[in-house]
């Protein structure tokens, strides 16, 4: 039992005097006993106190006649008698609405006396935990959470935890500093196993406790993880989520123009260019340079706004049919939907269900972004799909005229050729062929063996000084030929993809290609040039001419 202030000392003195007097009269005072001796109570919760162990010191038959419960507020220095009852009222409860330190005193009276000065007390700490988090946070991002533990300075908890709940499921517990007062902490947006917590609404709880498991208090708030996503497809399929934000994220042709061959004449000298007829009133369908870009948002929200911006020179079409009526978003355009408006909300979800198509329109790139703004206009989550519009644009567009256009001709012979991944870099010539061009010669025609001669002027590799003329071209003889042209075999050989050092690819069906000295394809491709028989010379990707005519790469050479 503790001694307190001056007036209490006076009371004690008086009581002692009375006890001594009563003892003199042979009536001892009762002894109040409060349980528990200390208590931590959460604010706005009831603290329960018991005095059943109180007893009278006199002989049997005497008992506690009344219980009187007092609450002393250390903050206001005031007493409140919160419960008084007869000998059955040894229990009392009090609801504390303000954090702080309190004392609950029990005064008891025995049956022999009309009033007793005996009392016992319980020290009570009323704890309040307040949590304040933003209403929204972005997926794969962190959030700052403010919290306050009261009373501060005069009491510290034994432990403090930050608990994250998805519904009733605890997904993460983060230990915090065990001290009262105002604090902030950060949730990194991850669950306990280190994975990103998916987009959903979570309860953020600060748990304050002591060693006594019953003495825990909690404060909580709600935060919603919002995810918006743009899923871009490109020439090579679906772009990985984490890559599409990076430069060169998604690759789309910008020069496929199979709707109107005359378009090509608008860019001298017929270099690959964007469509020009796309804004016409006549719909254009079937262009396979359009690539899907899917929009999504989670969870479904009914407030805030979402904005789609096109910061590219490309165009977003509602479907693969192009035309003025089907344009969703032009270069530099922006669309915004207020999610609190049911009509606009539906429009956005319609777009998620029927995603648009991106079309490149120049050799530059750019980004398309989707941003969610909270009702307070704060940017919560954004996703950006970066596009790079590429083309094999060193040469000229294949001509579309004639009974069998060059496009059809080449793409029929080499089905792996994708329209905008090749172009014509030199006109047809019967003077030099693929092997000649593989060693950058333009006035000679090389054939492998005597029987493979096409012309009277062909030079046979399987003949001195490179070969033995036995009618079969061996790898040794081929190496000797290329060695005489200052090329040596690469350390990497087919079927591996040719590394950047490879200058010459020799194909299994006696074709050869030379690497271009350009940056066509923005580094995504390594472009090679093939002189195709007596036809034109084209630029292409290393494996796009694989097939029955040329076989597949069989030997790589590099410059020593």
């Amino acid at each position: 039992m503790k001694l307190r202030y001056k007036h209490q000392l006076a009371v004690l003195f008086t009581l002692c005097l009375m006890v001594s007097v009563c003892h003199a009269c042979f009536n001892l005072p009762p002894i109040p006993v409060v349980w528990p001796e200390e208590e931590i109570v959460c604010v706005d919760a009831y603290g329960s106190f018991g005095g059943a162990s109180s007893h009278d010191q006199d002989e049997a038959g005497e008992y506690i006649f009344t219980y009187e419960w007092w609450l002393y507020d250390y903050q206001t220095y005031s007493y409140v008698n919160f419960y008084t009852g007869d000998y059955y009222s040894y229990m009392a409860a009090y609801c504390f609405d303000t954090p702080g330190r309190y004392a609950v005193d029990l005064y008891v009276e025995e049956d022999e006396a009309t009033w007793s000065t005996s009392y016992d007390t319980c020290e009570v700490t009323v704890v309040r935990v307040t949590v304040d988090s933003p209403a929204y946070m972005g997926y794969k991002s962190s959030v700052e959470i403010d919290y306050m533990i009261e009373p501060e300075e005069i009491w510290d908890p034994d432990y403090v935890n930050l608990n994250i709940y998805y519904g009733a499921t605890l997904i993460r517990t983060i230990p915090l500093a065990a001290s009262s007062g105002s604090h902030w902490t950060t949730w990194d947006g991850k669950a306990s196993e280190g994975t990103w917590a998916p987009a959903a609404t979570y309860t953020v709880e600060v748990e304050v406790g002591t060693e006594n498991p019953d003495h825990e208090c909690y404060g909580s708030d709600v935060v919603t993880i919002v995810d918006v996503n743009l899923a871009a497809s490109d020439l090579f399929g679906e772009v990985a989520e984490d890559d599409e934000d990076l430069p060169n994220g998604a690759f789309i042709h910008f020069n496929l123009d199979n709707d109107d061959s005359s378009d090509n004449t608008q860019e001298a000298p017929k270099r690959p260019g964007a469509d020009y007829a796309q804004n016409g009133t006549t719909p254009v369908t079937g262009e396979n340079d359009l690539k899907l870009i899917e929009l999504s948002m989670a969870p479904p929200l009914f407030e805030g706004s979402i904005v789609l911006s096109n910061m590219t020179l490309g165009k977003l079409w509602k479907s693969t049919t192009k035309g003025s009526a089907n344009l969703l978003l032009g270069p530099g355009g922006e669309l915004s939907w207020n999610l609190a408006n049911s009509q606009q909300r539906d429009q956005f979800w319609q777009l998620c269900t029927n995603p648009p198509y991106m079309e490149g329109a120049s050799s530059t790139g750019g980004s398309v972004s989707l941003v969610y703004y909270s009702p307070t206009s704060e940017q919560v989550k954004a996703d950006c799909a970066y596009y790079h519009f590429i083309a094999a644009d060193c040469g000229s567009q294949p001509r579309t005229t004639g009974s069998l256009s060059e496009r059809d001709w080449f793409e029929g012979a080499f089905p792996n050729l994708v329209r905008c991944e090749w172009s014509i870099t030199a006109e047809a010539s019967a003077v030099y062929n693929c092997i000649a061009w593989s060693v950058v010669e333009t006035n000679v025609w090389y054939v492998t063996v005597e029987s493979a001669r096409l012309h009277s002027y062909d030079i046979v590799i399987d003949a001195p000084p490179w070969g033995d003329g036995n009618g079969t071209l061996s790898t040794t003889e081929l190496d000797a030929f290329y060695s005489s042209k200052n090329y040596v075999p690469s350390s990497t050989q087919p079927p591996s993809e040719p590394p950047a050092e490879v200058a010459v690819i020799y194909y299994s069906e006696d074709h050869a290609a030379h690497r271009m000295g350009c940056t066509c394809g923005a580094g995504k491709w390594i472009m090679f040039e093939s002189k195709c028989g007596e036809g034109p010379k084209i630029e292409h990707v290393w494996n796009q001419i694989n097939g029955a005519s040329y076989g597949s790469p069989s030997r790589y050479y590099r410059v020593p």
Partner: protein, 333 residues
């Protein structure tokens, strides 16, 4: 009347019969087979992108062109000459005539050179056309060079004989006449080459006599119908004749650049008509007429080389351009 109608019917039947019996010319046959081959190539656009011989030639359509043999060569060559894009046809000539043209790469000039035709300028003309039009005439000289080198290597038992042997073989059928000539003179070492070039008709172990007899009987069919060059008619110098004299025209200076035998055709163009002794000889004669005043007689000579063996296939340029000679006849005194 009935007889007249019967005559008309018989004439028509006869005419139809002659129509049905009309044989297509080599030109028509070649064009037909050539178009069939072109159609085949067009049905395979990917062939255009091949830089090595393969399926373009490994087809029945092309084999049929080759099977036309030597008579088709002029038409093949002219087709190539008309359209350089048809140069793939040279392979037909190469297969028919068994000729191969040696090529080398000159690393200094970075271009293809032709050791057998050093004066041929690459890029200006297809070398095979050059061979067809001019180069074949060097076949005898090239043969003699290769042959002497080959013989020397054999006698000295030095390496390189096989290469020289191949070079002789690669001269093709154009070398047959001189090879046969050599064989006739006793060089039996050439008989195996003769056998190769005749696809074994002459056996590799044939005797000189057998070779000679075969050539006498069949050589005409084994001559390549090289292009005919126009003969040149030369009618002689203008001169004067006296009345009553026998004047003789002289076309003996006429010549055929291919060395073919010429036929002559003299025609009087002006002056009092005289009677030539034989207008189809090189030197016809006539008696100068007696005239009151000086008169000039003009005669035209056209020579024709159609009698040459190489004209088995009708070729242009068999007739020369006309040449004239003026014979002035003085008046009678």
């Amino acid at each position: 009347m009935k007889a007249l109608m019967m005559a008309v019917i018989l004439w028509m039947v006869g005419d139809l019969g002659s129509m049905s019996n009309a044989q297509p010319t080599m030109s028509e046959i070649f064009e037909q087979k050539y178009q069939a081959w072109r159609d085949y190539l067009h049905s395979h656009p990917e062939f255009r992108f091949l830089s090595q011989a393969g399926p373009q030639f490994d087809c029945s359509q092309f084999r049929e062109i080759v099977s036309l043999g030597l008579p088709a060569i002029p038409y093949v060559a002219e087709r190539i000459a008309r359209d350089p894009n048809e140069r793939l046809l040279w392979r037909a000539i190469s297969q028919i005539a068994k000729v191969k043209i040696r090529t080398q790469y000159d690393p200094n000039r970075r271009e293809t050179v032709f050791p057998d035709f050093p004066d041929f300028k690459p890029g200006q003309q297809d070398v095979f056309l050059y061979w067809w039009r001019e180069g074949y005439k060097r076949t005898p000289d090239r043969f003699l060079n290769y042959h002497s080198e080959w013989q020397a290597l054999r006698e000295q038992r030095q390496a390189g004989g096989a290469q020289k042997y191949s070079q002789i073989v690669d001269l093709g059928i154009a070398a047959l006449p001189i090879i046969v000539q050599k064989v006739r003179h006793g060089d039996t070492s050439l008989i195996p080459i003769l056998s190769v070039l005749t696809d074994g008709i002459i056996g590799p172990n044939a005797t000189t006599s057998e070779c000679s007899t075969w050539w006498d009987q069949n050589g005409r069919n084994w001559l390549i119908p090289f292009p005919n060059r126009r003969p040149v008619a030369r009618a002689g110098e203008d001169r004067t004749a006296s009345p009553g004299d026998t004047a003789r025209l002289n076309g003996l200076s006429s010549m055929d650049p291919d060395g073919s035998e010429l036929s002559y055709e003299w025609v009087q163009l002006s002056g009092p008509r005289v009677s030539l002794s034989d207008a189809t000889t090189a030197t016809p004669a006539f008696v100068a007429p007696e005239l009151q005043e000086q008169t000039t007689l003009v005669f035209q000579l056209i020579v024709n080389d159609a009698g040459d063996l190489s004209k088995a296939v009708p070729t242009p340029n068999s007739k020369s351009l006309p040449a004239v000679v003026r014979i002035r006849v003085n008046p009678k005194r």
